[in-house]
C-alpha cells in the first residue's frame, strides 16, 4: 500500500516537472518570437484597429508617461515593458497614433515615424517623432542639401516639428544619433521614399 502511494507521488511529481518544463519552453519561445517579430508581424497577432501595436505588446495608452507636445497639438507619451517601448500620440481625449519597437529595432533606427498634414486648409505641418538608441543624447535631422538641425533626447524619445518640404526644396533624409560627448553613435534613414512626404489624392 505504501509502495503504491509513493509510486503515485512519483508520477504526480514527474507530471508536474514535465508541465513546468513545457510551459517554460513555451514562454521562452513566445518571448523570443516577440523579440524577433517585425512591427507588422507583432501587430498581426491581435485584431486590427487603433492601438494595435500596444495591444499586441500587452501595453495600454492609459499607462503612458507624458513626454512632450507637438506643434500640431498632439501630446506624446511613453509606455514600455521589458521587450517593447511605445510612443503614444493623443489629441485631446482621442488616440492619435503609436510607434512601438523593441530594443534592437530602436538600435536599427526603425522606431521613427513621420506625420504629414497635407490637406489644403491645414498648416502643412510635418512631425517627426521616434525613439533613440541607448547612448544618444541628441538627434540631428539631416537634410538632402547637407544642412541639419538638432534636438535633445527626452526619456529616450525625440521630436522635430516642421513643415512639409515644398516641391524641389531640400527635404529631411535621415537622423544621426549623437552621444553625450558630441560624437556620432550611428545614423538611420527616415521611412520615406525620397521627397514623397505628402501623397497624391487622385
Amino acid at each position: 500500500m505504501k509502495k503504491k502511494g509513493s509510486r503515485k507521488s512519483l508520477l504526480v511529481a514527474s507530471a508536474a516537472t514535465t508541465a513546468l518544463a513545457v510551459s517554460g519552453a513555451a514562454a521562452y519561445a513566445a518571448a523570443n518570437s516577440a523579440t524577433n517579430a517585425s512591427p507588422g508581424e507583432q501587430a498581426a497577432t491581435v485584431a486590427p484597429g487603433p492601438e494595435r501595436q500596444l495591444r499586441s505588446s500587452g501595453l495600454s495608452t492609459s499607462e503612458a508617461k507624458p513626454l512632450f507636445t507637438l506643434a500640431n497639438g498632439e501630446r506624446v507619451g511613453l509606455v514600455s515593458n521589458a521587450v517593447t517601448k511605445c510612443l503614444v500620440r493623443s489629441l485631446g481625449s482621442r488616440f492619435a497614433g503609436e510607434t512601438c519597437a523593441t530594443t534592437s529595432e530602436i538600435a536599427e533606427g526603425h522606431a521613427v515615424s513621420v506625420g504629414d498634414e497635407c490637406g489644403s486648409p491645414g498648416k502643412n505641418l510635418m512631425e517627426i517623432t521616434g525613439l533613440a538608441p541607448a547612448g544618444a543624447s541628441e538627434v540631428r535631422l539631416i537634410s538632402s542639401d547637407g544642412t541639419s538641425q538638432s534636438t535633445s533626447v527626452t526619456s529616450g524619445a525625440f521630436k522635430f516639428d516642421g513643415t512639409n518640404p515644398a516641391p524641389d526644396a531640400p527635404y529631411p533624409t535621415g537622423v544621426e544619433w549623437v552621444g553625450a560627448n558630441g560624437t556620432s553613435v550611428g545614423t538611420a534613414g527616415l521611412p520615406v521614399e525620397g521627397d514623397h512626404f505628402c501623397l497624391p489624392t487622385s
Binding site: P48, R94, G97, V114, G115, E193, L199
Partner: protein, 121 residues
C-alpha cells in the same frame, strides 16, 4: 399597501424605459460603425498602393507588412482632407474631420511586399 405597489410598478416601468433607451443607443452606435480590411496581396515598392473599396467617414487607417518596409498610410478626399503617416512595417493615420475619405497604404520600400490595410469609421 396599494400605494407601495403603485410606486414599485412605476419604478419598474422607469427602469425598463431607461434600459430600453440605453440599449437603443448602444445598438445604434454598433450599427453605424463600419470597418474594412483591404489589400493583403503583394505590391511593388515604388509607391504602389492598396486602397479601400470606397470612401467612408473613416477616422482610422492602418497598414502592416512582414519585414520592415517603408509604409505610408493615407486618409484623403478630393475636397481638402489629406493626412499621411510613414512608418517601418506598420503605420497608422487618423482623421477626425468627419468627412468621407478614402484609405490607402503605400509601399515605399523599393521592393515588393505583401501589404494589408484596415480602416474603420
Amino acid at each position: 399597501m396599494r400605494k407601495l405597489l403603485r410606486t414599485r410598478r412605476l419604478t419598474v416601468l422607469a427602469t425598463s424605459l431607461v434600459a430600453a433607451f440605453v440599449l437603443a443607443l448602444s445598438t445604434a452606435a454598433v450599427a453605424s460603425a463600419f470597418s474594412e480590411g483591404y489589400g493583403g496581396g503583394e505590391i511593388c515598392g515604388s509607391n504602389c498602393y492598396i486602397q479601400s473599396g470606397g470612401a467612408h467617414t473613416f477616422y482610422f487607417n492602418e497598414g502592416s507588412a512582414r519585414g520592415e518596409p517603408y509604409l505610408a498610410c493615407q486618409l484623403f478626399n478630393t475636397n481638402h482632407a489629406n493626412e499621411v503617416t510613414h512608418g517601418y512595417g506598420y503605420c497608422d493615420v487618423f482623421y477626425y474631420g468627419g468627412e468621407y475619405v478614402t484609405a490607402r497604404v503605400y509601399n515605399q520600400s523599393g521592393t515588393s511586399h505583401v501589404v494589408s490595410g484596415y480602416a474603420e469609421t
